[in-house]
């Protein structure tokens, strides 16, 4: 097989599954260790360096890291990464002196951003310290975008949102509140060096079925995002007793739980598909069920029933689905009485304010054509990010887009091509303190995932803003951090030192190492100590070993990073070395670096 050679940062990063799965590439193992050491401020800053909003994301993130977590492969459940992020944020203390700051002398370039949501704020966060003047145009009167208007306060307290948005704005961004951009052409005429569009996907989808506008239906049928915003800004403070929520995504979960708190005592969620095919995150669905939300699956609204000018309910088609829930047929109908109906069937982009003759091409679904790497539109100098770029995604994606867009804006403003981007850089640092001592806790703790404590049900409905989830207790944190396998502490092998004594092969608790004759990949795989499970993890293949010319093969899939191979190695051919990554950021010089 082809030797892996000296693996580069990209190889080693793949081993850190959580970091690889996170769009913003947050250094999870590092902050988990810092939380374990009680260094919450540092843990917060490690988070903030990549995801900008640790307190917000520690509550609301869709957690792409957790399904990827190695712990989930060797144990029942992944590490509660997201909740440990929240712990770091909540206990960080005052870190204001360690946040990035804008230089006293600006660099003379002006950047405009449309919308003051996570994407624009991430752009401002990266560009302000480089001396850019960033002007953000926002229709609302406060920063945050959809984080403020559509995430209910019982999931994201306002003080958390205020603190983390202020940390960016206070760096020196000029936010023009109450000034939605009505025309991109006019904004472009204002002579900004670059424009970033982070205006989100602010329009909830409506449902055009009979009765939608009959009688008083318009007053009692609400569209998710508008309704959530209206509740968030206290324009709406009540809803009828019986509420139907149409749709079963995460927004639907926010809608039904909000309704439950402002007067809806009989709230039912209506889903088209069977439960196994829901789009909502399992934990959000679980929270809703816990709060007594009803669930009706395999039903689709046929018409709103209005009698004597009043909405009385919804007539639903009963659906029968094939096995993979791709095709359905109507098998009957149900009538459900309702005082109010909330439509949470998705959200759309809306760019009525972008003239179509500006050189900005639009593709399907009325979305702009945006380069997935540079975030550039087809018009040089105009960049997109967040939900505005590729449709509705999670907050952490918006942040990742913001970082990339900031790199592009910086390059654009320096008259450099946006395609010559700074690359991921990394180095390996040995974690050995003595023969059998490491700088990290290398033992495998079989403890199970700690459950997030929640406020008692009766207290949740007292006030709209009572946060449901609580921080893990100190004892839970102490256990949960030990579940992290420190995947960033990499097994590093130096073939030239190996005497082929088999010590590492024997001691590996998951049988992940093999010394065997070289040959075609299929033959080598057939000779592995434990047959590979076929995961997405890379295989490490060494150079031929000095004494027999055989090769060392490591299957990274189940490695628990216990370091026993390195402790048992008589010649220090194995070492445990931490991968220190430097993420590409605006202002960095583009160069490719390998690690050794």
């Amino acid at each position: 097989m082809e030797p892996t050679g000296v693996p580069d940062a990209a190889y080693y990063q793949r081993v850190v599954d959580c970091q690889w799965a996170c769009p913003a590439h947050t250094d999870v193992p590092e902050y988990v260790r810092l939380v374990g050491q009680g260094r919450y401020g540092e843990a917060y800053l490690v988070n903030r360096a990549t995801n900008v909003f640790p307190g917000i994301l520690g509550r609301t993130c869709d957690r792409p890291c957790e399904p990827a977590c190695r712990r989930g492969r060797v144990d029942e459940e992944p590490v509660a990464i997201c909740r440990l992020k929240r712990v770091a944020a909540d206990l960080r203390g005052d870190v204001s002196d360690r946040l990035p700051k804008a230089p006293r002398v600006p660099n003379g370039k002006r950047v405009a951003a449309v919308g003051c949501g996570p994407a624009s704020l991430a752009v401002a966060n990266d560009l302000l310290p480089l001396g850019y003047a960033v002007t953000i145009f926002e229709g609302a009167t406060e920063p945050g975008g959809l984080m403020r208007s559509s995430i209910p306060a019982f999931r994201l307290p306002l003080e958390v949102l205020d603190a983390e948005t202020a940390a960016v704005v206070d760096m020196g961004a000029e936010v023009r509140y109450g000034q939605p951009v009505a025309s991109l052409a006019r904004l472009l005429e204002a002579g900004y060096d670059a424009v970033f569009v982070g205006s989100g996907a602010p329009r909830g989808k409506d449902l055009d079925v009979p009765g939608r506008h009959e009688g008083d239906a318009d007053a009692h049928v609400h569209v998710s995002l508008d309704w959530l915003a209206s509740v968030a800004f206290r324009h709406t403070t009540a809803i009828g007793r019986r509420v139907l929520v149409i749709g079963v995504g995460n927004t639907a979960m926010d809608c039904c739980r909000t309704a439950r708190r402002i007067g809806g005592t009989e709230v039912t969620v209506v889903a088209r598909r069977p439960r196994a095919f829901f789009r909502a995150s399992p934990w959000e669905l679980q929270d809703a069920m816990e709060e007594g939300i009803g669930l009706l699956t395999e039903r689709a609204p046929r018409r709103f029933v209005v009698e004597h000018g009043h909405l009385v309910g919804v007539e639903l088609d009963e659906l029968e689905w094939d096995e993979r829930a791709e095709h359905s047929r109507v098998v009957g109908s149900t009538f459900l009485p309702a005082d109010d109906v909330v439509l949470a069937i998705g959200q759309e982009n809306a760019f009525p304010w972008i003239e179509r003759d500006l050189g900005i091409d639009f593709g399907g679904a009325d979305l702009p054509v945006v380069d997935a790497v540079t975030m550039s539109s087809t018009r040089p100098g105009v960049f997109f990010g967040g939900d505005a770029a590729f449709g509705p995604q999670n907050i952490v994606w918006a942040v990742a887009h913001g970082h990339e867009a900031a790199i592009s804006i910086d390059l654009h403003c320096r008259d450099l091509p946006v395609t010559t981007r700074p690359s991921l850089q990394g180095s390996l640092v040995s974690q050995r303190l003595s023969l059998s001592q490491w700088s990290y806790a290398n033992d495998f703790n079989p403890v199970g995932r700690q459950e997030t404590p929640r406020v008692a049900l009766e207290r949740r409905f007292a006030e709209l803003g009572v946060e449901v989830e609580l921080d893990l207790t100190a004892e839970q944190v102490a256990r949960e951090i030990q579940r992290c396998l420190n995947c960033d502490v990499q097994t590093q092998f130096r073939a030239s030192r190996c005497v082929e004594c088999d010590a590492c092969v024997d001691i590996c608790p998951v049988g992940g190492l093999t010394i065997t004759e070289d040959g075609p990949e299929a033959a080598v795989r057939a000779r592995l100590t434990v047959p590979p499970a076929g995961g997405a993890e890379p295989f490490y293949v060494s150079e031929p070993l000095p004494q027999t010319r055989r090769i060392m093969v490591k299957d990274e899939d189940l490695c628990v990073h216990c370091g026993l191979c390195a402790e048992r190695c008589p010649t220090a051919a194995w070492d445990m070395a931490k991968l220190v990554l430097v993420q590409p950021r605006a202002g960095a010089i583009g160069r490719a670096v390998t690690v050794g």
């Binding site: 492969r73 060797v74 144990d75 029942e76 023969l435 059998s436 001592q437 490491w438 290398n442 033992d443 495998f444 079989p446 005497v499 082929e500 004594c501 088999d502 010590a503 092969v505 024997d506 001691i507 608790p509 998951v510 049988g511 434990v530 047959p531 499970a533 004494q547 027999t548 189940l558 628990v560 216990c562 370091g563 026993l564 402790e567 048992r568 190695c569 008589p570 010649t571």
Partner: protein
């Protein structure tokens, strides 16, 4: 010594043997030997062989004397019986235990110091009696536990880390065993499990005394340039004379005992059922012919080579129980009245001699 015990990872997908056990069920507590010690790899080979042979852990007795090697029984098969005897006295203890219960597998682990100096006399008589014992010599050429003095396994001319040369002749347990009428002689290398594990499996099935000389380098005192028992020197000197092709399986056809066909494949029927299928690497090497094996080994030794593989096997010799026609039952299964029939019976026996 490692900082942590080898963790049990809940979902590591380990295969199971006929008893439903994984290889981890054949392990023991963490070794306290030096990192990279050959003995730990030998232990791992034993774990592998016992697991592959689906031997029930509680049917095994681990025995040893004194030395680094003699610490190793602790580090595998935590469910087995064990006896750590005084220096060199492992074979007599095993002989006695075997006399009391012939149903168990006796696994003796010794070093070249323990077995070839203080215990040499016992080893010789154990071989002569053909006690059913798997006797491993973890041979590293030094007394590791007392800081690396030359042992009886050290080759003439081999150097210590400080450069002193050993000028005494080594005791070759294989040549010694041949001269004493041994019935199973094999040599392996701790860092070559592909060949060591089948030798161990074959030894478990042997009818009598199985002596296995395992070259097992001492990383601390005998793994340097100038040593003849380092990892590198062993690899350079090793000459494989037989290769076990198939694990022990019940005989499919008529056994081919004692004949080496043209292809060099040899099937040896084992007393416990099944047979061993070997390939002679130098065509014509016949591990059932005591005289030609002696010649081969002497020639290899003269060239400074280390022949490995199944060197000699003879399944025709009865073990100590068969020769004494002693009870088939373990003594703990014999009813007390029968085991200890009382003074009246003794009187009757004595009267018969008056």
């Amino acid at each position: 010594m490692p900082s942590i015990a080898k963790p049990l990872v809940p979902r590591a997908p380990l295969p199971r043997n006929a008893l439903g056990l994984t290889v981890r069920d054949y392990e023991g507590p963490m070794s306290t030997l030096c990192a990279g010690c050959g003995h730990d790899s030998t232990t791992a080979a034993l774990v592998q062989a016992l697991w592959q042979s689906s031997i029930e852990p509680h049917r095994v007795v681990k025995l040893s004397g004194i030395g680094c090697s003699s610490k190793t029984p602790t580090y595998f098969l935590r469910g087995a019986h064990g006896f750590n005897s005084v220096h060199g006295r492992m074979v007599p203890i095993a002989t006695g235990a075997n006399a009391a219960n012939r149903d168990l597998l006796y696994l003796g682990i010794s070093g070249d110091g323990d077995a070839l100096s203080i215990g040499l006399g016992h080893l010789c008589h154990g071989i002569r009696r053909n006690v059913r014992l798997v006797h491993l010599i973890e041979n590293n050429g030094v007394y590791g536990l007392t800081k690396g003095q030359f042992s009886p396994g050290a080759d003439r001319g081999s150097a210590s880390p400080r450069g002193e040369r050993n000028d005494l002749s080594p005791i070759d347990p294989m040549l010694l065993g041949l001269s004493l009428g041994a019935t199973f002689l094999a040599r392996g290398f701790s860092a070559d499990k592909v060949h060591l594990v089948p030798l161990l499996e074959a030894a478990f099935a042997h009818r009598g005394f199985a002596l296995i000389d395992v070259i097992s380098p001492c990383v601390q005192f005998n793994n340097h340039v100038g040593s003849t028992k380092s990892y590198a020197a062993t690899r350079a000197r090793e000459v494989q004379v037989t290769d076990l092709l198939a694990p022990i399986a019940p005989a499919a056809g008529p056994p081919l005992a004692g004949t080496v066909p043209d292809g060099g494949v040899l099937d040896v029927p084992m007393a416990g059922g099944g047979e061993l299928r070997f390939r002679s690497v130098p065509p014509g090497y016949d591990p059932t012919d005591r005289t030609s094996v002696a010649v081969h080994l002497a020639e290899h030794a003269g060239r400074g080579e280390v022949p490995t593989g199944l060197l000699f096997v003879d399944e025709s010799v009865p073990d100590v129980h068969e020769r004494h026609r002693s009870t088939q039952q373990p003594l703990n299964d014999v009813p007390f009245e029968q085991l200890c029939p009382g003074a009246g019976t003794l009187d009757a026996i004595q009267a018969a001699y008056r």
